[in-house]
Amino acid sequence: MTWVHLTSDRWLCRVDGMVRRVLLLLAFLVIPAVTLSAELQFSASVGRTTVGLDEQFQLDLAVQGEDMVSVPRPVLPALPDFNLLGSTSSQSTNISFINGQMRKQASVSFLYVLSAKRLGRLVIPPCKLTYEGREYASQPIEITVVKAAQGQAQPMPARPGARPRDANVPIEGNLFLSAVPARRTVFVGEPVMLEVSLCTRLRITDGGWAGMPTFDGFWAEKVYDASRFDFQRRTLDGKAYDVSRLKTVALFPLSPGDVTVKPMAFNVAVMQTSRDFFDMFGTTQTVRVESKPVTIKVLPLPEKEKPAEFTGGVGQFTLSAALDRTATTNSEPINLTLRISGSGNVRMVGKPVVPAVPGLRILDPEIKEDVRVGPAGVQGTRTFRYPIIPQTDGKFVIPPIRIAYFDPRAKSYKTLTTGPYECSASGSIRSAPLVEATGLKVLGTDINYIKADAAELVVTPIDPPVWPNLLYAVSLGLVAGAFWYRGHTQRLLSDRGYARKVRSSGLVRARLRQAEAFLKKKDERSFHAALTQAVMGYLGDRFNIETQAMTKEQLQAELERLQVGPETVAAVIEVIEQCEFARFSPGARPTDDPVQLFQKARDVMGKV
C-alpha cells in the first residue's frame, strides 16, 4: 500500500521502486510521530496507484487525533473520471493514562471503493474534512489507469521441479482457475473458506495475479497466499491435473442475500513445445485464466429471540472478565478487562454494554484484537479494556455483564455472563453527590415572581437625606470642645494664676452678694468691710497679686505697674478710700450713700 501523507509530496507516487520503498519507510516513521501532536491528522491513500480500466480499488481516508468527539464524514471531491461503488468506515480508540491524565487517541478510516472510467493518468483531487471549525485537506493522488488489469501482483516463479507436460496439449479444458468455497450457505458473519487453485495439464513456467482479487460484500481474512507453485497430482472429473493452491481466504459475509465472489484473473505462462525438432526449448505463451463466479447464499440472523445483549458475534465464544484492582484512591481509574475468545468473526464482535453504576464513570473501552487465521478457521480474542473512574467514595458493585452471540452450528443465540464485580474507592476528588442521581430536573427558567401586597408603601427618594451632614459639624464641635476642656483642666492644675482668674468671678460674686446682704440689714460697717474685701480680692485674683496686706498706696503703685488705666486706678482708690473712711471714722458719713458706692464698686470691677 502506498501512503500519500499530508507531509509527503506528490512526486512520491512516481519515483521508482527502490526510492519509493525508502520513502515509504520514512513516511511510516513520520506518521506516528505526527499523530502524537494534538492536531487532527487527515490523510488519503489508495490501494494501488496503477489500476486497470473498470477495476476496483480502495481509497482510504484516515482521520487520527486526540479526544475526537465525532468525526464528520469527509467530503469527496467531484470525481468525473471515477465510479464510486461503495463506502464504509471503521473506528478504533486507544486510551492511555499518562501522569493521571487521560489521553484518548482515536482513528477513523473511511473506505471508498472506486473504479476508473478512462485510461491515462487520472488525479483524485484533495478530499476535505471540516472539524471544529478547521478545514483539513488531503494530498491529491495520481492514478495510472492501464488497459489490461496487470495490477502490481508479484510474478510467481515456477518451481524448478515443475513437471513438463505433454507437448501441444490444447489449452482449452486443460488449464483453469478453480475457486471452491467450503460451504455455499452461511449466516451473516459466519466465515466461509474459499480456496483458489490453479489446475493444469500443461507445462507452466510462470504466473501471476492479473490484479488483486477483491471480495465485495465480504470481510476477507487471508489464510494462505502462495509464493510459488506447488503442484500436486489430483484427479478431477476423471482427468489427472496438477493442482497448485494459490490462495485461501476466510470470507465473512456482511449482509444477507446471494453474494457473488467476482471472477479472479491469473496470468499463466505456458510452455508450448515446438513441433520443430531443432527448437529445443519451445515457445512460451501467456494465458489469462479466470475463475467462475461463486455465489454464496447468506442467511440473515434470526430476528426472533435476538437478545438485547447481541453485539454482532457469530461463532463460538467464551467470555472472561477481570478488574485489575478492587480498591482505588484519589480517583485513579480501575480497569475492567473483558475478553471474548473463540472462533468466528472475532473482529466484528462489538463492545458489550457495561451497566451504569451510580458513582462510577465508565469510559469507552480500548479495544485490542489477537486474531489467528489458520486452516481450521478464524480464532482469536477481542479484549475490551474499560477505564472506570470513581466519582464518589464508597463500595460499588458492577452488576453481571452479559454478551450474546449467534452460534451458527446450533442456529440459536447464546448469552454469556460474567461478574458481578466489587470495588471500592476512597479519597475521590469529587465527593459531591451526583445531581443526576437525585432526579432534579430543570424544566425551564423564568423571572422571580412579584412582591406581595402591602398595607402601606415605603417611599424612599433616590437622593440620600441631607440632615446626616449636620452630624459631621456637631461631631467636629464635640471634639473641639473636648480638647478645650482637657486644656482647661490641665491649666487649672498647673497654672495658679489661671486657676485664680477662673475662680475670681465666682468669689467676687459671692463677696458682692455678701455686701449686698449687709446693705439690706443696714449694717454699714460690715457692708464696707465686705465691699473692700470684694474689690481687693478681685484685683488680687485678676492680676495674681497679694492684695490683702497692701496699703492703698502700694495697690495704686502695683496697678500702675500693671498698666491699668489711670481713671480706673483713681476709681478703685476712691472706692477703697470711701470704704475705709466709713469704717474707720465712726459717725462720719461717706460722700456717697452705700447704694451708690456698691454700684460704683461693681462698675470699677467691670472696667478692670
Binding site: 427558567t445 423564568d446 423571572i447 422571580n448 415572581y449 412579584i450 412582591k451 406581595a452 401586597d453 402591602a454 398595607a455 402601606e456 408603601l457 415605603v458 417611599v459 424612599t460 427618594p461 433616590i462 440620600p464 437625606p465 446626616p468 451632614n469 452630624l471 459631621y472 456637631v474 461631631s475 467636629l476 464635640l478 471634639v479 470642645g481 473636648a482 480638647f483 476642656y485 482637657r486 483642666t489
Partner: protein
C-alpha cells in the same frame, strides 16, 4: 412604636392602593394594565417593591430595556434583595447585544462589598458612626482610657465604609446610566440623522450618557465605544 417613628424619620409612607391593584392585574396576566397601575403607584415616590413589580410587568410584556431600568432603580433602593438581583441578571441575559466586559474576581468582590448597603443606609451609617466616633474620641481626650480609642477606631472604620459605599453609589448615579428602550437604534457619528451610522444598538443595552445636544444624546458602551442616538430611544436609570 419607637421603631416605627425612627423608620419614619428616614423614609416616608404612601398609600398602597394602586400597587395592590397592579398585583391583582399581574396575577391575571394583564401585564400592560399592571404596569400602568405600578406607574401610578410610583407617582407617590420611588419604592423598591413597586419598581421591582413594574420591572416584572414590563419584562413579561417583552420590554426588556424599561424592565432593566426599573430593576436597577429597585436595586439602588434595596441592594440586598435577592429577587431584584436575580431578575436583573435574568433580564440582562435576554438582551441582543452582548458587549459587557466581565469584571475580574477582585473587582467583583469589591463591587459586592460596596453594594451591601443602599445609598441612604450608607449615608446614615457614615454620619451616625462618625458622630459616635467623635463622642468616643472626646471621652478619650478627657479620660485617656485605651478602650475609648479602640471604640473610636472601630466606629471610624465603620464610618469610612459608609462613606466609601456612599461615594461608590454617587459615582454610579453621576455616570448617568441609561438603558436603550427602542427595539433597535442606530448610533450615529454626530447629533443628527445625516451623520454616519457607526453602531447598531438593541433593547436593553446599558450605556452612559456623556453629552446632550438638541434631541440627541452621546452614549458610551462599557467597552468605550459609543455614538449619538435619539434621546427618546434611551431611558435614564436615575
Amino acid at each position: 412604636m419607637l421603631a416605627r417613628l425612627i423608620l419614619l424619620s428616614v423614609m416616608a409612607l404612601a398609600p398602597a392602593g394602586p400597587y395592590n391593584q397592579g398585583n391583582q392585574l399581574y396575577a391575571r396576566k394583564d401585564y400592560a394594565g399592571a404596569a400602568r397601575a405600578y406607574q401610578q403607584a410610583l407617582k407617590a415616590g420611588p419604592s423598591a417593591d413597586v419598581c421591582y413589580n413594574l420591572g416584572n410587568a414590563l419584562f413579561k410584556s417583552g420590554r426588556i430595556g424599561p424592565a432593566i431600568v426599573q430593576y436597577r432603580r429597585a436595586h439602588h433602593l434595596q441592594p440586598r434583595d435577592a429577587d431584584i438581583g436575580r431578575n436583573l441578571s435574568f433580564a440582562r441575559s435576554y438582551r441582543v447585544d452582548r458587549v459587557l466586559t466581565v469584571p475580574g474576581p477582585v473587582a467583583r468582590v469589591l463591587d459586592e462589598t460596596f453594594h451591601l448597603l443602599s445609598r441612604r443606609e450608607a449615608a446614615l451609617l457614615a454620619a451616625v458612626s462618625f458622630l459616635l466616633a467623635a463622642l468616643s474620641l472626646s471621652v478619650w481626650v478627657v479620660r485617656r482610657r485605651t478602650v475609648w480609642i479602640l471604640g473610636t477606631t472601630v466606629l471610624a472604620a465603620l464610618s469610612l465604609f459608609g462613606l466609601i459605599t456612599q461615594w461608590v453609589w454617587a459615582g454610579e448615579v453621576g455616570a448617568q446610566p441609561a438603558v436603550i428602550v427602542a427595539p433597535e437604534v442606530n448610533a450615529l457619528s454626530g447629533p443628527g440623522e445625516e451623520f454616519k451610522q457607526i453602531l447598531l444598538l438593541h433593547d436593553g443595552t446599558e450605556v452612559r450618557i456623556r453629552e446632550k445636544r438638541g434631541g440627541y444624546l452621546l452614549v458610551q458602551l462599557p467597552g468605550g465605544s459609543g455614538g449619538w442616538i435619539r434621546s427618546d430611544a434611551v431611558e435614564r436609570v436615575y
